[in-house]
Amino acid sequence: MQHLPVVPIVLPAVSGALMLLAMRADLPGKRTFSIATMILLGTVAVLLLMQPPPLVYRLGDWPAPFGIVLQIDRLAAMLLALNALLGLAVALYAVGTGWDKRGAHFHSLLMFQMMGLNGAFVTGDAFNLFVFFEVMLIASYGLMVHGGGAARVKAGVQYVVVNLAGSALFLFALGTVYAVTGTLNMADIGLKAAEVPHDGLIRAGAVMLMLVFAVKAAVVPLHFWLPATYENAPGPVAALFAIMTKVGVYAMLRSLTLMFPFDSAIGAMLAEGLRIAAGLTLITGMVGLFGARDFGRVVTWSVIGSIGTLLLAVSAGRPEATAASLYYLVHSTLAGAVLFLLGDMIVARRGTLRLVPAGRLAQGGLLAAMTMAAAVAMAGMPPLSGFIGKLLILQALPDQWGLWLLILATSLLAIMGFARAGSTIFWATDSSEAPAHPAQPLGFVAIGLLIAALTVWTLAAGVIQPWLDGAAAALHAPAALTRAVLS
């Protein structure tokens, strides 16, 4: 039990390597192994959720500011569980639809991606965050071009170049912060940053750091890489990417609470800039959704729009708004993933995602019902969790009428955009029989799993809310975490 915090990183690393070395040609073996690992990861995450936070794990038993630590509070444990659930759904979907047959090492890459994501969520060291970002990204480059094809590889090159530029900026930012504070431990940076006499340099470092996270989270105006990438990525991979943008949001949340808290001068400046960018992101995303002529674009823009909503709540810097943003974060990840998987199902049956009238779809009824549910959740209509999420955000910011107007107006745009897309795909059909297509029950099980999770997240909102309030309170009062890390 003592070594539990390091398991979410070691387990996928070992199983990915094992699959690479011992099961090169054994596809059934790889499939079983991959799904079993995902279930194990989920179990570990649940065990970690039940431990009293914060958990601190010292790698190599070096004391904190000198060695690398892993820190698990409620937020990190929650994201580990979410990641495991998403990974399970993606693995099931890839097995069910045969995506994993189109290239050699899908499951290994999936495992390395899980390792990078989990590592980014639990690390307490800023440089280690960079390393895990790179692990996550290098696996995602492989997954992005999985299955090949000219358009996909070209979009992949663009994705890699944007992220390489982001990585370089990340290193510049870390170097600047290290030069001023002399430490890379996030909790220690939080203590030292408050005491730096001339704060020009550390301001520059903090801004660069936020810019890097903004690139990862696809915040306007740094979002331009996302639509082409997500649209061209294989369906299950795009679903997994739904959580990759959230890694950027997570890193921002950590920076704004642990390294540069909202109540410090630097944190206030960052939050102010973030608020404006988040508003622009929300508008751009929802207008893009409304104007898109392709279901893939509808989904990618809706993901960008949801990032905007999320960051508006984060940038408010109040515990209740942070709690609402945590609720919305889980919801928007699940809803985005469902929409990407459905997009893949539709394009496999329809041949195109363009919003033009076409023939009927095989299993059209089930697909339509699932798309309806996911779109309702994503647009923020009752009864699903998107509605509760937006309601919580609005409730947490009762005095900001401009923000209310923005969120409500963009929700209307999203509803109209989704209604148009859904009616064209499922209703504007001729009366001919749908062309036969294999039923792929496991693929539907994967989508159903995520929709079930959304439903549970909605129904249990009353139970989850106090727990999230606790998580947000712990984020806004990081003294306990700092003490646990540095003692």
Binding site: F127, I138, K154, V157, V160, F172, G175, Y178, L184
Partner: protein
């Protein structure tokens, strides 16, 4: 020393930005390499510039003598390994894109004059 280093980092970065904005694969890769050089030199400088001092003290030295900060060297080492791996990846992917689409542009502009996209040999 500071002037020299700052100028070098600035020059590398400026060249890198110019090359990345060329939007063709080869200049972009060269630009990313330049940028990673600039980053590495910058990371070296973050520990403070001390000439001729060892990064690790051997057992015989009494008291805290002059020494350089060893941590930036560890960071630079990690950064070099990662940027080397990333360069290999981006070269492979660019080759794949070149052979599959016959174009070496990094941006996804479809309307490209045919004369600017020479077909590589052996392309089916």
């Amino acid at each position: 020393m500071e002037i020299l280093l700052a100028t070098a980092i600035g020059w590398f970065t400026a060249v890198a930005v110019y090359l990345v904005l060329r939007r063709r694969v080869f200049p972009v890769i060269l630009g990313m390499t330049m940028l990673s050089y600039a980053v590495n030199v910058f990371l070296f400088a973050t520990g403070g510039l001390v000439v001729g001092a060892p990064p690790l003290l051997e057992g015989k030295v009494a008291g805290p003598g002059p020494m350089t900060d060893p941590l930036p060297q560890a960071l630079v080492l990690t950064a070099i390994v990662i940027s080397f791996g990333m360069t290999a990846v981006v070269v492979m992917m660019s080759l794949g894109a070149w052979f599959q689409s016959g174009s070496d542009r990094v941006d996804l502009d479809e309307a490209e004059p045919a004369a600017e996209a020479p077909q590589p040999e052996g392309r089916a």
